[in-house]
């Protein structure tokens, strides 16, 4: 599969009567977007706000972050099976409004989490301090269940991002990249001397607030399977995961999966990127056994020389990660795993909930229990009412001077286990 991705640089977002992209500025028509959000009967009202890099703004509680993209040419459309028809995406041409993001905010449950600071020390820990964010704050109708509310926000966020993405459809990109993912045999013929490498992407799939959708399928109902990495760039994987802000993969992370990006950058040079495998992280232990067996079977069948395995979330996914790693190593395939750590505030506790000697090549995205004090910022989008309750916040964490002391696990993307950021630990 071959996908051409055209990047249109966005350096600001402004509200206007006419939606368009002009001179690197994304003009949004919030009235039209509001109408899209209110198509869902579960949403009572919606507020729009813009947060720009460097501004004294704190966004919380963040649910998802989504990048506006548009399908320019080729089959299917962005977010297939979710907000557009099911059809295989990942080939043709896609345009990206790079530097812009839709950030959805809403208190789905009381302990909902996720902080994005646009400036100060907190900004160093989240990649979304560097994007121009259209923040959408949702209020649900009364009496709605958490399931309905989560689904409503998730869908509305995707639709709004889709609408914005379309504005880049007819523009000339500032930069274009080509991602060529050949079929198995083609790849072998083309690069006979390069080691064949795969990527096992683990997706959170435990239940309410912990789900991931692939072409609209709830991933917990799937066995380990395969697709082209270019499909993921077209929104084949969507986040329904609201918990553990630091190490959940937002939809934006999926769209810009850094492992895929970095494997492509070596593709045809030092390695042959030959397989994209996705697996789940279920609650049921038998599912964990089955899914990791399947990952190993696929890797073995494809005769890969090495794979990178990335994790999502805290706690029991450590078990999935170690199972995947161990079983894949046992097929004779080299593995490198990416995870994060919960080593306690002082860094002296055991970092992972599971471990195995075979996991001898590990990349860490840092200790999520590290404490930071975030300064008071001029403006809060969303609400600070729940700051105490977010993961990593603790009783009394909201100080009288407006600063908050939290563990970095409260910050969206701080210890992302796709290796999206530079934070690490030793």
């Amino acid at each position: 599969m071959k996908l051409k991705v055209g990047y249109i640089e966005i350096r600001d977002i402004m509200t206007a009567d006419k939606a368009e992209v002009r001179d690197g500025v994304l003009y949004v028509d919030t009235k039209a977007l509001e109408a899209i959000a209110l198509e869902d009967e579960h949403i009572k009202s919606v507020k729009f706000d813009v947060a720009r890099p460097g501004e004294s703004v704190r966004i919380t509680p963040v649910k998802d972050v989504i990048e506006p993209r548009a399908k320019v040419e080729g089959p299917g459309d962005i977010f297939p099976g979710m907000t557009t028809k099911v059809a295989t995406v990942g080939s043709g041409t896609t345009h990206v409004l790079r530097g812009a993001a839709v950030v959805t905010v809403g208190k789905i449950v009381g302990f909902q989490e996720g902080i994005i600071d646009m400036t100060g020390v907190g900004a160093d820990y989240t990649p979304f301090s560097a994007t121009n964010n259209l923040v959408v704050d949702f209020t649900p109708v009364d009496g709605i269940t958490a399931h309905e509310y989560e689904a409503a926000i998730r869908t509305a966020g995707l639709k709004i991002a889709y609408e914005l993405g379309k504005l880049g459809k007819n523009l000339t990109p500032d930069e274009t990249k080509e991602y060529d993912f050949p079929s198995l045999m083609e790849g072998i013929k083309k690069y006979p001397d390069l080691p064949r490498v795969g990527y096992v992407l683990m997706l959170q799939s435990q239940g309410l607030l912990h789900d991931t959708y692939v072409y609209g399928v709830d991933m917990k109902q799937s066995l380990t399977t395969m697709l082209s990495p270019t499909e993921i760039m077209d929104g084949a994987i969507v986040s329904g995961n609201c918990v553990s802000a630091c190490d959940k993969n937002t939809t934006y992370h999926h769209q810009n999966n850094p492992v895929i990006e970095d494997l492509f950058s070596e593709h045809g040079k030092t390695l042959n990127f030959s397989a994209m495998i996705i697996t789940n992280e279920n609650v049921y232990l038998a599912d964990k056994m089955r899914s990791s067996d399947w990952s190993a079977k696929l890797v073995d069948y494809l005769d890969l020389e090495g794979v990178i395995i990335s994790q999502e979330g805290f706690g029991n996914p450590d078990t999935d990660l170690i199972m995947n790693c161990k079983k894949i190593e046992e097929t004779g395939t080299h593995t490198v795993i990416i995870t994060d750590e919960y080593a306690g505030r002082d860094g002296t506790s055991q970092s992972l909930a599971d471990a195995d000697a075979k996991a001898d090549a590990l990349v860490t995205a840092g200790n999520a229990n590290q404490v930071v004090t975030l300064p008071k910022l001029d403006r809060v989008i969303g609400t600070l009412d729940y700051t105490e309750k977010i993961a990593g916040g603790f009783a009394g964490s909201l100080e009288s001077d407006g600063s908050i002391t939290v563990e970095i696990q409260a910050i969206t993307g701080a210890t992302n286990e796709l290796g999206f950021s530079r934070l690490s630990a030793r």
Binding site: E261, A343, Q350, R422, S424
Partner: protein, 349 residues
């Protein structure tokens, strides 16, 4: 701001007194720099000054631990430095242990920040890297030129009370504490690079070494337990009253082998625990609670097991090094095999 005050600790060799034959040299404190202190002074520039250098023989330190520690602590206390620096000891074992021990004491008892330097395989590194900052050095004094700038920079940070970065940034040996920092490359890029190295059989360094669980595969089940000889082994410290072999209450250096032929029940008059890591009241009142001789005698009578072995093996698990435990077990496991014991019940506390 004035200069930070540094006290430097070195052994008799680096003080120019002499080698092994002078290792009994008693602690002394001199003004200013001695030996490697010169290099440190250069690296500190005008930011810090070594006001005193303490010299002590390696043998003296290790063989007169309590006295040496007290003398040295008094010297450091009197000088009130902003930071205490020991070594570097490179791969000199006793020097390394001395540096680690005195640094640990100065930090614990005087609350003064401390720093030392060693080669990663120095026994002192193994003992102290989880508790102290130990700058990684080469394995001999030729590494002085590398070690001093790293140690001096870190010493200045400690003196100023600055945040210490991760081991890989600062150059100290990774210990039990995980510290966050920002890498140059993002995680995914590092993963790709690590995989390329791993596939090519080139050396690579994992960012988190897995804890060593040392899991042991269980043996096959005993076929007929009703005719088997079963032995009892414990790390709960059960010993005959008065602890005849003086097994230590923690960090045990030995194990005991005791005869229980004819003993039906462990009584408070005849058995007790040597273990210092738990409340001994209940074990001393009835040692069967840790080493269940009484229950096993019953099981023999009921025909559930064949025989209780005449001897039991015991040590104290409290802080005892894994290496020692392995060595103890290897010895008595052979004895148990020679005595045709089919199964062992291991009890802990």
């Amino acid at each position: 701001m004035g200069k930070f005050k540094v006290v430097h600790y070195i052994n008799q060799f680096y003080a120019g007194i002499g080698g092994e034959e002078f290792a009994d040299h008693k602690p002394e404190m001199r003004d200013g720099v001695v030996g490697p202190g010169m290099a440190f002074a250069g690296a500190f520039g005008d930011k810090a000054e070594i006001t005193k250098t303490i010299v002590c023989g390696d043998s003296f330190f290790n063989e007169n631990l309590a006295e040496a520690k007290k003398t040295l602590l008094d010297m450091v206390r009197a000088e009130k430095p902003d930071v205490f620096v020991a070594g570097p000891a490179f791969n000199a074992g006793r020097y390394g242990v001395a540096c680690g021990t005195i640094c640990d004491a100065v930090r614990e008892e005087l609350g003064i920040p401390v720093l030392t330097g060693m080669y990663e395989e120095n026994p002192g590194a193994e003992m102290f890297k989880d508790k102290l900052l130990i700058v990684a050095t080469k394995n001999n004094a030729a590494g002085m030129r590398d070690a001093v700038p790293k140690m001096a920079a870190l010493a200045l940070k400690l003196a100023a009370g600055e945040q210490i970065g991760a081991s890989i940034e600062e150059g100290y040996l990774p210990g039990g504490t995980r510290v966050n920092f920002f890498e140059k490359e993002r995680g995914s890029r590092r993963a790709v690079d690590m995989l390329l190295k791993k596939m090519a059989g080139k050396p690579f360094v994992t960012e988190y070494p897995m804890p060593d669980f040392d899991r042991v595969e269980p043996n096959a089940a005993v076929v007929d337990i009703s005719s088997a000889t079963i032995a009892l082994v414990t790390s709960g410290g059960i010993v005959p009253k008065t602890n005849p072999d003086r097994i230590e209450s923690s960090s045990a250096s030995k194990y005991g082998e005791y005869d229980i032929s004819g003993v039906e029940d462990l009584t408070p008059e005849s058995f007790e625990t040597a273990h210092g890591g738990y409340d001994p009241v209940y074990a001393n009142a009835d040692a069967d609670r840790v080493l269940p001789v009484d229950v096993l005698r019953d099981m023999v009578k009921e025909g559930i097991i064949g025989k209780l072995h005449d001897k039991f093996y015991t040590t104290v698990g409290n802080g005892t090094a894994t290496k020692s435990s392995k060595q103890f077990a290897a010895e008595f496991a052979q004895k148990l095999k020679d005595d045709n014991v089919q199964a062992v019940i291991l009890t802990s506390t």
